[in-house]
């Protein structure tokens, strides 16, 4: 069998570098099919998809960028509003404090004024009462004294007393004495 093989090899004068015709043909056909399939169908197919993917990724990035910018502007707006609101609140508080302070001061002044008024009214009243009492007392004492003196003297001194200032003078003296004693 081996001898058979060797014989076959020598007989055919085989040269491995001489391409046999049928193989050339088959090789050409086999490769041509692969090439045309890749060229016309598969690679355009996958290139389209790769392009779509690239676009999708880039689109996604752009979208994310846009959203980021928007978020940033919203954040800035929000911050500005917050700062404004803080400012407003501070202003209102300040105003309220000022108003409160003036109100308190006004109320205090009013209270003071009312107190003084009441005190003054009290003083006036007391003074008037004192004067009334004093004049009434004076009349009563004068009358009592004249009555008493009349009874002692036996005649009415009323007219005299009314006409003279004796009693008044006497009472004034009494008062002066009382003042001095005090």
């Amino acid at each position: 069998m081996i001898a058979n093989l060797v014989q076959l090899a020598t007989e055919s004068e085989q040269n491995p570098l001489m391409p046999p015709g049928p193989e050339l043909l088959v090789g050409t056909i086999a490769f041509a099919i692969v090439f045309f399939f890749f060229w016309k169908k598969l690679l355009p197919n996958i290139n389209k998809v790769l392009e779509e993917r690239r676009a999708a990724i880039e689109g996604g990035i752009e979208e994310a960028d846009a959203m980021k910018t928007e978020a940033q502007s919203v954040l800035e707006q929000y911050k500005a509003q917050l700062a404004e609101a803080r400012h407003e609140a501070a202003r209102l508080r300040q105003e309220a404090q000022e108003q409160g302070a003036t109100l308190i001061a006004e109320m205090r002044a009013e209270g003071q004024r009312q107190r003084e008024e009441i005190i003054a009214a009290g003083h006036t009243q007391i003074e008037a009462d004192r004067k009334a009492a004093s004049s009434a007392l004076r009349q009563d004492v004068g009358k009592l004294a004249t009555d008493l003196a009349g009874k002692l003297v036996g005649e009415s001194l009323e007219d005299h007393a009314r006409q003279s200032r004796t009693i008044d003078r006497f009472l004034d003296e009494l008062e002066e004495k009382a003042e001095a004693a005090r």
Binding site: M1, I2, N4, L5, V6, L8, A9, S12, Q14, P16, L17, M18, P19, P20, P22, E23, L24, V26, G27, T28, A30, F31, I33, V34, F35, F37, F38, W39, L42, L43, N45, I46, K48, V49, L50, E52, R53, A56
Partner: protein
């Protein structure tokens, strides 16, 4: 009778130190001869041709499954396909030719790479066990396609005179050695280049196949009496060679495509 090594290995009786005095059925040129498995109108159809056509079927069906209904969000198969496609497109074509000039040659290079790679891989696939590219006709066809591509491109780019300047590496600054350089360059570029391009792939696969057959056959042949340990060594070598061949197969497909790109790059280059 076919010289297919699987049939040699199945010649059970042929062992070392056996009574029939059988010698080592060494692989040789006859390992690359195949009996026709079918004959259509005088056209002899053999195993290598069948493997070549299966290669076509495999490459197309894989990439059709991967890219046929390609989606923006890829499935597993599409991802693998894209990785392979990207490897050739970016790793080889864009690297040498640039994106702008290279885009046109992507289909050729992608189909070359995967066609050659699968043709090579048959070397270690059980039952097939024969690298299609170890038959010179297949590398020759592919090298011829590349040759026609870059030669016609050179003509188109540089015109008739420009073509010869480009091919011969015309450079006035070389002075008196210029004629010598031009002759060498002319032969090297126009005549030797396509030959080496095809033979580089062919010879690598041819040698790899011989080694694999040698160790495989020896593993069986030595499996007798006290030579059994030697058979073990041979078997380990077979496994190691399979691993090495897998590497060489991929590298040779890569080198073939890389050289094709380099030739086209040379054709595009401006002559000075």
């Amino acid at each position: 009778m076919s010289a297919d090594q699987t049939q040699l290995a199945f010649d059970w009786s042929c062992r070392i130190m056996s009574d029939n005095g059988c010698g080592f059925p060494a692989p040789g040129l006859h390992s690359f001869l195949f009996k026709p498995i079918a004959e259509v109108g005088g056209f002899e159809f053999n195993k290598v041709m069948l493997l070549a056509l299966i290669t076509t079927g495999l490459v197309i069906s894989f990439f059709y499954a991967a890219f046929g209904k390609a989606k923006v969000v890829p499935g597993k198969l599409q991802m693998i396909g894209e990785a392979g496609y990207d490897f050739v497109r970016r790793g080889i074509v864009y690297e040498t030719l640039g994106k702008k000039e290279g885009e046109k040659y992507v289909p050729l290079m992608v189909s070359l790479f995967f066609f050659i790679w699968i043709m090579n891989i048959w070397s270690v696939i059980p039952l097939a066990q024969f690298p299609v590219s170890s038959i010179i006709a297949f590398p020759a066809v592919l090298a011829a396609i590349v040759y026609v591509t870059w030669v016609s491109l050179t003509f188109k780019r540089h015109g008739f005179v420009g073509f010869f300047k480009n091919i011969t590496g015309y450079d006035k600054s070389l002075g008196p050695v210029l004629p010598l350089v031009m002759v060498i360059e002319f032969f090297s570029n126009l005549l030797v280049r396509p030959f080496t391009h095809a033979v580089r792939l062919f010879a690598n696969m041819f040698a790899g196949h011989l080694m694999l057959v040698m160790f495989t056959v020896a593993s069986w042949y030595l499996l007798n009496s006290w030579m059994i340990p030697a058979a073990g060594v041979s078997f380990v070598m077979t496994i190691a060679m399979i691993g090495f061949e897998l590497f060489v197969q991929a590298v040779q497909a890569y080198v073939f495509v890389l050289l094709a790109c380099t030739y086209i790059q040379g054709a595009l280059a401006e002559h000075h």
